[in-house]
């Protein structure tokens, strides 16, 4: 069963091809069958492979399936081969299963759209690329998947391409992630030239043999890979594209920008953890990036009024938690949080999709309200997802986040500062989550409900809600399962709190956030307005609303100078070469057409002169 591993990326790829070629001729049902069915089959095969992996673990706790040799030149021999170990198994399971639920949801959500087959083609291509990324045995194949998901992200963000805004958002996403991709490819070049291979396991072995801890090569390579991860996962300083990426359809936001693509960076760092362990400075950088991002995004999420943008900033913040975990050496905690986050964030996005649909495409939470009675299933599932996100005790999110917050203090790379950042982040998470829930589902109804979801949309919601609750209970076996792939977190002795105390603090913070949100947004709505009217409050509000001004900074620092330089260079000398050729030809034409006078005597003169010249040449040369 495990030898069918290659089908897992192949099925969505084939489905994408079929939909691209024949999609416009198939009926809605057929398209949905291809789109959803392929992912469903992939999920099934993954589950079966996982079962066989559990029951009879292969040698070395990893299974490699080589398909064929991709390139073979001068000793560089990457193959198309898939590597299944605990880490990639967990991630592929989550991607295919959550992906299947999201595809099922979007079969109904997108049913009225005229680009139905195009949507499923892109989504399937995305899943195929993501799985290639996760299963790739060498960094080149991983990079192929990396680029593939970047492409599909662009295509899906700009799905409704007739609106220029969507195209701009898609371009912004692509260009910003491109910056990260360039850093990553430079890192790949460095790794290859120094260590001679890109095959991940060999790479890690050679790195640990040849480079000592703190080696400059390891540091530079790790920082470059971090650059790539930062771009793809929308962390500081490249986080600007994710909020604008909400211009795409909601299932896209759920799949790509919540559960899967943005976690590609986390996967990359987890896979190459040996490299980061060899470069403590880089690892510290990862932790700082994570901590900074989670605070920045948390404050920004507090001020947003588009429901999807709140969730987008929330995603950025939660991935910040994952980066923080990676940075302090809590590798398994990061993956655990990834799994929990995939469940509840996808759930939240899908619920938001239902809400937006029901409110007649209204996105602003200040114009919603009272949906508790109208959309009961959506309300309860959304509430569960939100609680899991905020860290209600004994939900999946609680276990995951507290593990990270505890590790931020207790792990070898941990600092009290990280712990404080984690706690503040949890407070902010609770605040903005319940602000969102109270505004949308409680209070008076501002916009009437026009559409209710059908079964294809509610079943995924229910399943994800169930997973959000119970998913955390497998913490101990889960961490043990990941042990062969990722080292356990090394605890240092100098923590000033115990684990239970840390968890208690987190729970308290959750309650504080809940109460404040209740106060501001449910009981006395005017209190929130008063805060905003206050001049200090207003400045802060605007600053956080615009994502701490990063868009403005990038515009002034990069975009405007580039545009100005392009305008100055509009007629550069290279152009002169091409226009020069054209002008020269035109000159020749004009000159030659002068000789075409139409007069016989002129032509005769030409012939006579020519023959004289020829005779002279024959005689004298």
């Amino acid at each position: 069963m495990i030898s069918l591993l290659w089908l897992v990326p192949a099925l969505p790829l084939v489905s994408a091809l079929v939909l691209v070629l024949f999609g416009s001729r198939l009926s809605r049902g057929a398209v949905a069958a291809f789109g959803v069915g392929s992912i469903g089959l992939s999920a099934l095969i993954t589950i079966l492979a996982a079962l066989s992996f559990f029951s009879a673990p292969p040698a070395g706790n990893s299974y490699t399936q080589v398909l064929w040799t991709w390139i073979d030149v001068a000793g560089f021999k990457p193959e198309i081969s898939f590597y299944l170990d605990a880490l990639s198994l967990v991630m592929v399971l989550v991607v295919t299963f959550v992906g299947f639920l999201i595809h099922l949801y979007s079969a109904e959500f997108m049913v009225e759209d005229e680009g139905y087959s195009r949507f499923f083609a892109y989504m399937n291509l995305f899943v195929a690329s993501m799985i290639t990324l996760l299963l790739g045995n060498n960094l080149l194949l991983l990079y192929l998947g990396w680029e593939g998901v970047g492409l599909c992200s662009y295509l899906l963000i700009g799905f409704w391409y007739r609106e220029p805004v969507n195209g701009l958002a898609a371009r912004k996403a692509f260009i910003v992630t491109r910056v990260g991709d360039t850093a990553m490819s430079l890192g790949l070049f460095l790794l290859f030239t120094q260590l001679g291979t890109l095959q991940i396991q060999d790479l890690m072995q050679r790195a640990s043999q040849q480079w000592q801890s703190g080696s400059i090569y390891a540091l530079v390579a790790a920082l470059l890979l971090l650059g790539g991860a930062v771009g793809k996962s929308a962390q500081l300083p490249l986080q600007v594209w994710l909020p604008d990426a909400m211009a795409g359809p909601t299932p896209t936001s759920a799949l790509i920008h919540a559960a899967t693509m943005v976690t590609a960076g986390v996967y990359l760092i987890a896979r190459t953890h040996v490299l980061f362990a060899l470069a403590p400075a880089a690892q510290l950088a990862v932790a700082i990036v994570g901590a900074g991002t989670l605070l920045l995004a948390g404050f920004s999420a507090l001020t947003q009024h588009d429901i999807k943008r709140v969730l987008a900033y929330s995603t950025v913040s939660q991935i910040g938690y994952m980066f923080l975990a990676l940075g302090v050496g809590a590798w398994q905690a990061a993956i655990f949080h990834f799994m929990a986050h995939a469940f509840f964030k996808a759930l939240l996005f899908l619920g938001a999709g239902v809400v937006i649909d029901a409110q007649h495409d209204e996105h602003s939470i200040f114009r919603m309200g009272g949906l508790r009675k109208e959309l009961p299933i959506t309300f309860w599932t959304f509430l569960i997802g939100g609680c899991s996100l905020a860290g209600l005790p004994f939900t999946a999110g609680f276990f995951a986040k507290d593990l990270i917050i505890w590790a931020a203090l207790s792990a070898e790379g941990g600092q009290p500062g990280f712990w404080i950042a984690g706690i503040i982040g949890a407070l902010l998470t609770s605040l903005y989550t319940f602000r969102l829930i109270f505004r949308v589902f409680f209070g008076p109804s501002n916009t009437p409900v026009t559409k209710r979801p059908g079964y294809a949309m509610t079943v995924p919601l229910l399943l994800l809600a169930a997973l959000s609750i119970v998913g955390g209970n497998i913490k101990e076996p889960f961490l043990a399962f990941l042990h062969p792939s990722l080292p356990a977190t090394i605890e240092s002795a100098s923590a000033f709190l115990t684990e239970v105390q840390s968890e208690a603090t987190a729970a308290t913070v959750f309650l504080i956030g809940l109460y404040c949100a209740y106060l501001f947004h449910l009981q006395k709505g005017t209190l929130a307005d008063a805060l905003v009217v206050n001049p200090v409050g207003r400045t802060l509000h605007q600053w956080w609303f615009s994502g701490w001004g990063f868009d403005w900074i990038y515009d002034k620092a990069f975009v405007q100078p580039f545009i100005r330089a392009a305008e100055i260079n509009k007629s550069d000398f290279v152009d002169a070469f091409y226009t020069g050729v054209a002008r020269w030809a035109e000159l020749f034409y004009r000159g030659l057409s002068q000789t075409e006078t139409g007069r016989v005597r002129w032509y005769a003169m030409g012939m006579a002169a020519g023959s004289v010249v020829f005779i002279a040449m024959v005689l004298f040369l």
Partner: protein
Amino acid sequence: MLVRRDLIVVLMSLEVMLNAAGLAFVVAGARWHQADGQVVFLFILAMAAAEVAVGLALVMQIYRRFKSLDVDALSEMRG
């Protein structure tokens, strides 16, 4: 032929040139004692006859249309 603008004179100059070429051929044939020179002259003669016939018919048409025999007036094919 390059100097005169009268169409008839142009054609006459053409005849002169053909004649001169034929003369050269005959002289060459006589120099090397072969009949080829005279044979070629015969062909040139036949060709000149045909050309004169067609050319003069054209002259008539041109005179009828342009009312003059100026060679320079016939420059409608200029580019």
